[in-house]
């Protein structure tokens, strides 16, 4: 039983990382109707950049978190301004393929700059083990779960109560009408990219702190796909929650069945879910109108 609880606990930690990335997918999808395939790579670039900053400046835990969010947001803004903005109004197929191109470029640039050898992302106090209800949990693992909860609360408040959040939902619901009401859809897209990339950056940095820094970090993007699909692309909070489900499922499969199956557990799950509910567990059903 304690083995089971341990698996669930570490599954929640990795699931929270997936959840953060998945929220990023959903934010961009909701605001612009496309999927950013470069999400994991943005997290990867941010993780490496904040590692370099942490090593040169010797930053502590709190500022590492802040730096990673800031670096991610700036990166997102840059990508949006330089690459995505000129593609406004192009067919979805083209825009999505541009993000695929961006993903492979970022991935290789990171490997070229920082090399393929793994590093340890040292943050003071991150590896301290806390005893909670009989199982040991690292503070970094607790932090990532707390961050996810914080992000969920923040986004819920932002979308529900802030002026810009409402504008964002309006743009997602009906872009043309939103523009007529004076919402700048270009600015909504910029903010969505900054927010999504900030989330991915945070996820990337925290993942690096827990599991080490290696060029395979971009896989958090791949692993977060099932979470977003499970939650439904247009459900930001649903995606975050599904991240936890996928993380726990993956860990249980890895713990009880086999490690090869662990890698694809999430994908198999979404194949099944999509057969039954093609719009995700929490997604809105799409109605075709002619």
């Amino acid at each position: 039983m304690s083995y089971f609880i341990e698996l669930v606990a570490s599954g929640l930690a990795i699931g929270a990382v997936y959840g953060l990335v998945a929220m990023g997918f959903a934010v961009i999808y909701k605001a612009t109707g496309i999927i950013n395939f470069a999400q994991g790579e943005m997290g990867m670039l941010t993780a490496y950049t904040s590692w370099s900053i942490a090593v040169t400046l010797g930053t502590d835990a709190v500022s590492t978190v802040l730096v990673s969010i800031a670096v991610g947001a700036v990166l997102g803004l840059l990508c949006e301004r330089l690459i995505m903005r000129p593609m406004l109004g192009e067919p979805v197929l083209s825009v999505v393929l541009v993000t695929v191109g961006l993903a492979v470029v970022l991935r290789s640039v990171v490997t070229m700059i920082w090399g393929a050898a793994p590093h340890k992302f040292e943050v003071a106090g991150a590896d301290t083990i806390l005893q909670i209800g009989g199982i040991g949990v690292r503070t970094s693992q607790l932090t990532v779960v707390a961050m996810l909860l914080l992000a969920i609360a923040g986004f819920w408040y932002f979308l529900r109560h802030s002026r810009f959040g409402v504008a964002m939902r309006a743009a997602a619901a009906d872009e043309k009408t939103a523009r007529l009401m004076g919402v700048s859809t270009a600015r909504v897209q910029a903010v969505a990219w900054a927010a999504a990339s900030g989330l991915a950056g945070l996820a990337g940095a925290l993942f690096a702190v827990i599991y080490g820094l290696a060029p395979t970090i971009f896989e958090i993007g791949l692993k977060a796909f099932p979470a977003t699909v499970l939650g439904g692309f247009d459900s930001i909070l649903g995606s975050a929650a599904s991240g936890l489900i996928i993380g726990v499922l993956e860990n249980l499969v890895g713990g009880y069945l086999s490690s090869t199956l662990k890698e694809i557990a999430g994908f198999v799950l979404i194949l099944v879910v999509l057969m039954v509910r093609p719009f995700g567990l929490f997604g809105e059903k799409r109605i075709e109108r002619v």
């Binding site: 593609m87 796909f225 890698e263 694809i264 057969m275």
Partner: protein, 348 residues
């Protein structure tokens, strides 16, 4: 008295092109391609062979993404299935190479049907992720397949004797690839102008409209997956024979991106575009490496140690640049050039 150009008889109506110019140039190209082994160095010949079997795979993706508009990020999965179906057929089941080659088209086609079934319910981007998931599941299954699939150690593939032709020499294999590639090009060209091809393109342009015209989405989306997977599977088998060895590592995810880059750079939805795209994408890294070694020094060292990364960046930049600046691709540029040549000095 004849007062114009008339088509008399079915032969003239169904011929692929009625332009003597196009026929003459195509014949010239075919002759040059056929005698190429006598003229080219071993290096250039193997490069040409790579272009030929890559083109078969690119045509496979073209049917799915270019004609039907279904984005696939998992074509490397079909490629892998094709390669492994051939290798397992020859080494484990002692089948004739001809039968194994057929198997390398049939097995991916069946899996294409399985992947295609969710596509009937899924909206564009969900499908891209499903195919991505499929590719990962295939590679994980092969890795976990024990001795039957060779697991992590891969399978050695000998050059076979097919239809009495010994493919052990590079020249013979080149001719074989040329023949397969020729058939694939002809098949896709003809598919495009048949009822099936028009149905697929109608689905791409507007699936609801296509449905109201009486096109069964179930049948034609599945058919697109079937044809696409079969073509890609054959390309995978040829790739396996060319490399004489297949393993999961020889089918990296990059190949999916390469295939997408090919059809985007060439021009989505056109067979000529696929040809241009393949030549461009396969040749570009080689040219770039040559350029770097000509400059010499540190850059050349970086090229050799970072070959995979440099190649990836080139593909990514090519995808972004073409989509951003000329979504018509190389085919559009070729079109403009031809018009400029024909109408010079007039603009049109």
């Amino acid at each position: 008295m004849r007062s114009g150009f008339f088509k008399q008889g079915y032969g003239e109506l169904v011929v692929l092109t009625d332009s003597p110019g196009v026929q003459a140039w195509t014949a010239a190209l075919l002759i040059v391609m056929a005698v190429a082994p006598f003229l080219l160095s071993t290096y250039l010949l193997s490069h040409l062979t790579v272009i030929l079997f890559t083109l078969v795979g690119a045509l496979g993706l073209m049917v799915l993404t270019g004609f039907t508009g279904l984005i696939s990020l998992g074509h490397v999965g079909f490629l892998m299935l094709g390669g492994y179906a051939y290798a397992i057929g020859v080494t484990r089941m002692d089948l004739l190479p001809e039968v194994a080659l057929v198997l390398s088209a049939v097995v991916p086609a069946l899996f294409g049907l399985i992947v295609g079934i969710p596509s009937l319910r899924l909206h564009g981007l969900y499908l891209a992720i499903t195919t991505l998931a499929f590719a990962h599941i295939v590679s994980a299954t092969i890795l976990g397949g024990g001795t039957f699939t060779g697991a992590g150690s891969g399978i050695m593939v000998d050059r076979p004797v097919i239809l009495g032709m010994d493919l052990s020499s590079d020249e013979a294999f080149y001719w074989f690839c040329l023949a397969v590639c020729g058939f694939a090009v002809l098949a896709v060209l003809n598919l495009r102008r048949s009822y099936i091809g028009r149905a697929l393109m109608a689905i791409r342009d507007n699936d609801i409209a296509a449905r109201t015209m009486g096109i069964s989405l179930v049948r034609y989306k599945l058919l697109a997956f079937l044809i696409s997977a079969a073509l890609t599977g054959i390309a995978g088998a040829l790739m396996g024979i060319y490399m004489s060895f297949i393993s999961v590592e020889s089918f990296p995810f990059l190949l999916s991106i390469e295939a997408l880059a090919i059809i985007i750079v060439g021009g989505i939805g056109s067979v000529l575009g696929a040809v241009f795209g393949t030549i461009f994408i396969v040749t570009m890294p080689e040219l770039f490496a040559m350029l770097m070694s000509a400059i010499g020094g540190q850059l050349a060292d970086a090229m050799t140690t970072m070959a995979h990364e440099v190649k990836t960046i080139l593909y990514g930049v090519a995808i972004i640049a073409f989509l951003r600046f000329d979504p018509r691709g190389l085919r559009g540029i070729w079109h403009d050039l031809r018009h400029a040549w024909v109408f010079w000095p007039l603009r049109y």
